[in-house]
Subunit: 691 residues, 2 copies
């Protein structure tokens, strides 16, 4: 089974419908029809595309004509934190807007709806032809910026619903380039979110586990640019009966990243260098945050969001590392790869001299091993891990970049990228000096550890101070926690930034030349040869199988087909459904197995047999959170919020025997909205049957 | 070079004198004479053996007729903590006994001096012949206990100098068994230790680095059983001129553990399972301790010792992991091993049926992967990491074990082992409830993570409490921090322990049956087959090369020869000496590069050219800390306290090009005792030239 899954990326004939995250312009219609007898018509696909939205961190779906978006509670925790007060922690307490005009703005959130896609591979190929790797890399970036700018200029951005945002997208690691046109909604407001204790019941211990009992759902509303509820081109209906066991179910959403087409050299670099390094840092930061939280209740809240996010990432990375220690799976990948390389050599024996692209990727890994530590610490932000420093760097860099012609800029500062940066800087989000100090002290201490106390930058920063003193002083001194000040510096441009006495701005300025130089070196010596070789590999694959294989996930809209099913574990069957009654049985009363008061008092009125969570064979990954579970009619019967523990290895290969997605059943959503939250207006807007 | 080093364990002809940690009954006399022209006479060896002492955690040497022992400051930090008060932290402030009758007792320390060794391999072989692995494992343990008991009974322990302690020792992973007879000094007192800021100058960032500037030395005094200064059979003279560059130097000490004779399957288990798991836990605990220390100055001190020890272990493990990712080195080991296996098959084609011992070791690794997590958490102490729990377990187990015949007991509770347990329990050492809570909360939270929230023991412990609440309650409730109470329970035996209402005792009792069952399973399924196969491998190696190879380190006395030399790093030479002047240059004033006041004010009176630290090619490892650097006449010219960064890979192989030991030069010791500490009585006792 593993072998089939691993090989599947190369040979569409052995792809079962369950595997694969397919771009909507490349839907798996044949496989789905063969396996499930479901017809994915162009109309079905267009409706799903029109109703699907990509949030900044998750996926969502329009579920009403008035812009209601269904997603997960865990996707909206930043917004809940933003609207919490000293007395009310909305992450813990949950939220239900009492009326439509009292839906608070999620000031760092956006929702992008995909309008259409256009293949621009030829443009990129022409722009980079006959150039060496670094020159091709630079030319490619300029061409991508040009394409995006032209597309946005053409749109004119006069649409009252939301601005048109054009993004270039590399599929098949650069085997194909597309322009994706989105309508962006930048005014999202909070409508409903349950309490953390029920949305994330079981906390980190139960995360990625199934059986599971979480009501991880939430609702947002998109507003248009005139401040009125948006009217999306399409929305999908909720079917409050949930799906049946064995029923085919479809997931439309934005899986973040998979690594199924990486070369073995790249996977070994992940296994031996990148992942171990990351989980070591994550673990220490976890320890610091937990201890910080244990100091006093107020700290627990300050660190809450950071800790939850970190623990989730840590579990994913730890289990990805375990997956890469599966020597049988690795051996199979090695075997596949040697076959590909043999085919490559046979097809193009004369036109390719020198090392083949797999060897070039392997050599780029060597450069990566040499450069990745300083790159991560100095340019990548690992060494000065503070939101306030990130603001400072954006302000310093943007001031500099905006003086340049658009296509000469770093890609994250092009005209098309500026509105989102401005939104980030201008958002009046809560910031905690103690938390910023903790993270900055931690990260600079580790920078000293990994780059060494005698590294020039480390000596520069810590010439007279310990990491902790350094962090305390600079966080106490900076005023970048103030959004108005940030906007003054943003609007004031280069002159304002250069004149700023703010110590964080000065810090960002003082290291910028060194950081930029390192970035250039990394791009030339690691990214450029890797990109060129990856495109060659992708072309070789196309020559063998065209687009009958799916590209790796990259946080763009994908469709996946699967069915409601459990799996076999240790000679026992795991059933595909859990029920509300199990939630109460599991609630020991000790955190994180403690239910909210509202739920405890509603217990007697809830039907314990209500299906709560569902296991399905859909092939998903982080980023798919909030994706709908769709039936054959494109009705929503569930909301994806997690995978089982085996789904984490899905980053590298899909194992149909055990890889499962985990969703909330719409039946439980209905029961909760009715019985626990008494959310009548919402139920009516969602078209719920009268109870 | 790597290959030679790796193969060296099999073929003495290619051993350079620098490589190898040789038992004193098996000295590398020929190689040393050939390479260095130095004659290691029986008298030389006997004197060194008589003057060498093994501390509980380190090595040391008698340096005066009145029992003065030279070692490192970092070996005595527990003792310094024991005698600190709220106002005086002796780790930070250092200590110099004002007079001989004011030397405070290090109540958890011992010094063992090796008297002689006796080969008992035949006894063990006879005891285990024809038994299957689990039966052989049990029979072996009984035979070892019998041998130790008989040896100690014969000694009668009437010696006034110190008790005779008999320990069985497995060399060559059980290829040979010995009885080592030691004289144990259990009354050690603190004489001198410099401040942490100079003994451990540079802290964790500089740990395992060279060039280096640390005065990591200290002095203890051994007392006999009548409370008078001990008169050792021999002591060694300090040569206060230090060694010269290129001079041959010898290290006598007790290296803790090397893994040079493990099979590749064992190394891969370390690389893929054991080390990653350990450093993840270490990193999180590091984060918790650092954050705890940042809360308030008092906490910094409470966590100080724990943090230093942890960071040292973390660095070692992290770099051991890096070493095991050296694919070239691994490939060479694989090649060596396949040659050994071929030789094995050729030598004994008929007498061995079934899998060869390497395959048996590999299979035992599979059992280990299955059992090591529950074993570590439930029996190994990883899940209830608290000194108070450790006391409770000792009390509960000892009460039980002492009712059994000696040879039926767990090996750590035999009559010979009891005095040291009693010393541990009875020592009135400082204990901090906050620190115990932190560690217990951390470890039980990780037990829940790794065994899962539904593991029966986890459910039992956390049925109604979160990890933090559990830890807070039990640490607040236990009275085992009181040494007198511990001794009452120790002396009261089974009745007292069973009647104790102490919650920690009750916890230890409640999980003991499960922990013991797990231990038995681990011993039968992992330890037993591994031990049997290792002995077979060792016998095969003896058949090929006898004892011309050295056994892996196991914290018994070893001798190593090397010379004073630097190495080449990144096309530059690292010089073998640093000087006092460099210490002041490096002192930025920010922790951990901050010198003690006494040193700052002495700066003008110190000769900046005084040699401070030395790099030598000696092959050493943790446990060798405090070992003397000896010249050809067995005079002491330095004190080993560390290795360079490349020495950490020495756990697996010795690379003569870069593996270096790091020592304090006796010249700097003299200069410091004279100029900074004005320690006249000490200087006189050490035979220092008048200044």
């Amino acid at each position: 089974m593993w072998l089939a899954a691993v090989g599947a990326a190369l040979s569409a004939s052995i792809v079962r419908a369950d595997e694969g995250m397919w771009p909507l312009q490349l839907p798996p219609t044949v496989a789905v029809h063969r396996q499930y007898g479901v017809e994915l018509t162009p109309e079905w696909l267009a409706r799903v595309r029109n109703a699907s939205a990509r949030l900044s961190n998750c996926s969502a779906t329009f579920v009403s004509a008035d812009g209601l978006l269904l997603t997960n509670q865990h996707c909206l925790r930043n917004c809940l934190a933003e609207h919490s007060s000293r007395r009310h922690n909305l992450i813990d307490e949950g939220f239900l807007a009492p009326a439509r005009d009292r839906e608070p703005v999620c000031s760092t959130q956006v929702a992008d709806v995909l309008l259409d896609t256009q293949d621009v591979t030829a443009v990129i190929t022409a722009a980079t032809r006959d150039l060496d790797a670094p020159a091709a890399n630079a030319a490619r970036k300029k061409a991508l910026t040009r394409l995006e700018t032209a597309c946005e200029e053409q749109a004119g951005n006069s649409d009252p619903g939301g601005a048109i945002r054009c993004e270039t997208v590399a599929l098949y690691a650069g085997g194909q380039y597309f322009i994706y046109r989105y309508r962006r909604y930048a005014d999202l407001r909070l409508v409903f979110a349950p309490e953390l204790a029920v949305a994330g019941f079981g906390g980190d211990p139960d995360n990625f586990q199934f059986p599971r009992w979480d009501l991880d759902v939430a609702l947002l509303r998109a507003y248009d640019r005139s401040g009125l509820p948006a009217h999306p081109a399409d929305f999908l209906h909720l079917d409050f009966n949930g799906p049946r066991a064995g029923e085919p179910v479809f997931v439309a959403g934005n899986p973040g990243a998979t690594y199924r087409n990486l070369t073995v050299a790249q996977l070994l670099e992940m296994r031996d260098v990148e992942l171990p390094r990351a989980i070591l840092l994550d673990s220490e930061l976890r320890g610091r945050l937990i201890q910080f939280g244990n100091e006093r209740p107020a700290n627990q809240r300050i660190a809450q969001l950071e800790l939850i996010t970190l623990e989730n990432a840590l579990k994913v990375r730890r289990l990805e590392l375990d997956a890469l220690h599966d020597t049988q799976a690795l051996d199979r990948l090695r075997h596949e790869e040697s076959e590909q390389r043999a085919r490559f050599a046979a097809l193009a024996p004369s036109s390719h001299e020198g090392p083949d692209p797999w060897e070039q990727v392997a050599r780029a890994q060597e450069s990566k091993r040499r450069l990745s530590l300083p790159y991560a610490y100095i340019e990548g932000g690992a060494g000065l891990d503070s939101l306030l420093f990130r603001f400072a760097r954006i302000l310093v860099r943007a001031a500099d970049e905006r003086t340049k012609p658009n296509e000469e800029r770093l890609r994250e500062y092009t005209d098309g990228a500026l509105p989102r940066l401005e939104q980030t800087l201008g958002a009046n989000i809560p910031l905690y000096a103690d938390l910023e100090t903790l993270k900055l002290s931690f990260s600079i201490e580790r920078m000293r550890e990994y780059l060494g106390p005698d590294h020039s930058l480390v000596r520069h920063l810590l010439a007279r101070e310990s990491p902790q003193t350094f962090a305390l002083n600079i966080i106490a001194g900076t005023r970048l926690g103030n959004a108005a000040l940030r906007m003054r510096l943003w609007n004031g441009g280069e002159a304002a930034v250069n004149a700023s006495p703010d110590p964080m701005i000065q810090l960002a300025r003082s290291i910028d030349a060194q950081a930029r130089a390192l970035r250039q070196r990394y791009e030339d010596e690691v990214e450029a040869p890797m990109q060129l070789a990856s495109e060659q590999i992708a072309r070789a694959r196309f020559a063998a199988s065209g687009t009958s294989a799916y590209p790796d996930a990259n946080f763009t809209l994908r469709l996946n087909a699967g069915s409601v099913q459990g799996w076999r574990e240790n000679d026992a069957s795991v059933a595909p459904f859990t029920q509300l009654g199990g939630l109460f049985t599991r609630a020991s009363g000790a955190d994180p197995f403690e239910l909210p008061p509202r739920w405890l008092s509603a217990r007697g009125r809830l039907n314990p047999d209500t299906p709560l969570n569902i296991s399905t064979s859909n092939d998903i990954v982080g980023g798919n959170s909030g994706s709908p579970l769709l039936d054959a009619r494109a009705n929503i019967t569930g909301v994806i919020f997690d995978g089982n523990i085996h789904s984490i290895a899905g980053a590298f290969w899909y194992n149909p025997a055990v890889n499962r997605a985990v969703a909330v059943d719409t039946t439980a959503l209905l029961e909760a909205l009715r019985v626990v939250y008494d959310a009548r207006a919402l139920l009516s807007e969602l078209g719920a049957p009268r109870g």
